[in-house]
């Protein structure tokens, strides 16, 4: 039955090559922890992606309760933490995942760096990876404000002040991020929410797609 359904679809849109592109390839010995345990360092990238998936899923559930508005943001988070079934766990996963993803990203970056895996022909993928790192830091910075508690508010105030120190574009940068050159308030929260939930994830998905397509095209770098 399943085979028939597969054949029916395959006959029309030829999905076998797509499937082969995604999953039908060989994994060399030097990256396989089953053969050399030290090859676990090759897991860091995959685990980073795994945490990103956790972040996306937990974040989607958080937006079911979160209200991006200065009157209600904190209250909605408090309600989620104290009243909603498993809300504490879902927010916990998003909160701790944000830290764990940075740790895994750092480990993955160091693995690639010290193995010299970014050398020709993989320069482009390294740059895409560093951009992913920046996007992730941006997600961390914007997400920090959203609970709208004191530590979020004052950290963002400092962060925006630092952004304002940048010559020429400083004031412009503050307004772009915070919605107003001086006030950190309703506009800042909605902008950070939009950046955190729409703009940066869009960039993240696009960069991740390029990252993975390049890995499949170029393969994993050979043993040292």
């Amino acid at each position: 039955m399943l085979q028939k359904m597969y054949d029916w679809i395959d006959e029309r849109i030829d999905i076998t090559p797509i499937w082969r592109d995604i999953a039908d390839h060989e994994v060399p010995e030097h990256v396989n922890p089953a053969h050399h345990f030290s090859a676990f360092v090759y897991c860091f990238g995959g685990l980073t992606f795994f945490v990103v998936v956790i972040q996306i899923l937990s974040g989607m559930f958080l937006t079911m309760y979160y209200v991006p508005d200065i009157e209600n943001a904190w209250k909605s988070v408090y309600y989620l933490q104290t009243q909603v079934a498993h809300g504490q766990i879902v927010r916990g996963m998003h909160h701790w995942g944000a830290s764990v993803v940075i740790v895994m990203l750092l480990l993955h970056t160091l693995r690639v760096f010290f193995q010299g895996a970014y050398k020709k022909p993989r320069e482009l993928n390294w740059m895409v990876g560093v951009l992913l790192f920046f996007v992730m830091l941006g997600l961390g910075f914007t997400g920090y404000l959203l609970p709208w508690d004191n530590k979020a508010y004052f950290a963002t105030e400092v962060g925006l002040n630092i952004a304002g120190q940048v010559p020429l574009i400083g004031d412009w940068l503050i307004t772009l991020l915070g919605g107003h050159p001086e006030i950190i308030g309703a506009q800042t929260l909605t902008r950070f929410f939009a950046i955190h939930v729409f703009f940066l994830p869009a960039a993240l998905f696009a960069l991740l797609a390029v990252h993975f397509i390049l890995i499949r095209r170029q393969g994993i770098s050979g043993p040292l």
Partner: protein, 260 residues
């Protein structure tokens, strides 16, 4: 290995082997045993992911995500602190030649150089050797940056009393409880307690909020006289009648708060 439905695909989808200038060796050229990604290797990955997930969820379940009191721009003396992975940048600005008059160095030049070098690493370190020992400059620069980042983060974090911060900024439940300022207990409260616990029992210069505590009236009276934790003994100086009024007043507010 021949799969698929008769489509003519040679090998997998990587760039064809002829363009050796841009293409790595085919895996079949590597020595040793290769494994099919599907399903053999995916199973290994899945197991590794499961172990990771168990560890991660243990962290989540044992450490509730923190939440401080609702943002209040008028909070005096709040020491701002970014998330831990920005601490190194934050700490950098405290150095004499990265902050103050030299803030451009700390905000733009140093991070710009560091992250710019990271982004352009493949072009700065473009020799053929891949082993760390074959590229001493790149390796030592990265180690130096790593040590500096860890040191700055440690330096910044070790100066913070995390437990005291969490204690001082506990989230106060949104409460609709009206404080009856005509209650005789409130008069006593104002004289003895308000300087530390605030006029509304919710915050103050030195004491924690008094709404959302779980004590009986007798216990509250005892604490008022004898102190608890950082609270010294003897802050209450009044008659026994006033003490009773005070304890009853604080107790009643907490009872009302519970009902809401």
């Amino acid at each position: 290995m021949k799969r698929g439905k008769g489509m003519k695909y040679v090998g997998d989808s990587r760039v064809s082997a002829e363009k050796t200038s841009t293409t790595p060796k085919d895996y079949s050229e590597y020595p040793g045993r290769t494994v099919a990604f599907w399903p053999n290797f995916l199973l290994t990955e899945w197991l590794a992911g499961s172990v990771f997930l168990v560890g991660f969820l243990t962290l989540v379940l044992t450490h509730p995500s923190p939440l401080e009191g609702m943002a209040d721009p008028t909070t005096a003396g709040y020491i701002p602190l970014p998330d831990w992975y920005f601490l190194f940048l934050y700490e950098l600005l405290k150095y004499k030649y990265a902050g103050g008059d030299y803030v451009l160095l700390g905000v733009v030049v140093i991070p710009g150089l560091a992250f710019g070098a990271l982004l352009l690493a493949p072009f700065l370190d473009n020799g053929p050797g891949r082993r760390p020992s074959q590229r001493p400059i790149a390796t030592s620069m990265m180690l130096l940056a790593l040590i500096a980042t860890i040191w700055l983060t440690y330096d910044s974090a070790s100066a913070v009393d995390w437990e005291a911060r969490a204690e001082a900024n506990k989230p106060i439940p949104p409460s609709e409880v009206e404080i009856d300022t005509s209650d005789p207990g409130y008069e006593v409260y104002k004289n003895s307690c308000a300087s530390c616990h605030g006029d509304n029992l919710t915050d103050g210069a030195a004491g924690p909020p008094l709404i959302g505590i779980d004590y009986t009236a007798d216990e509250i009276a005892k604490i008022s006289v004898e102190g608890i934790g950082n609270m010294p003994a003897g802050v209450f100086d009044g008659t026994d009648e006033e003490l009773e009024q005070l304890a009853e007043f604080i107790f009643t507010i907490n009872e009302e708060n519970k009902e809401e």
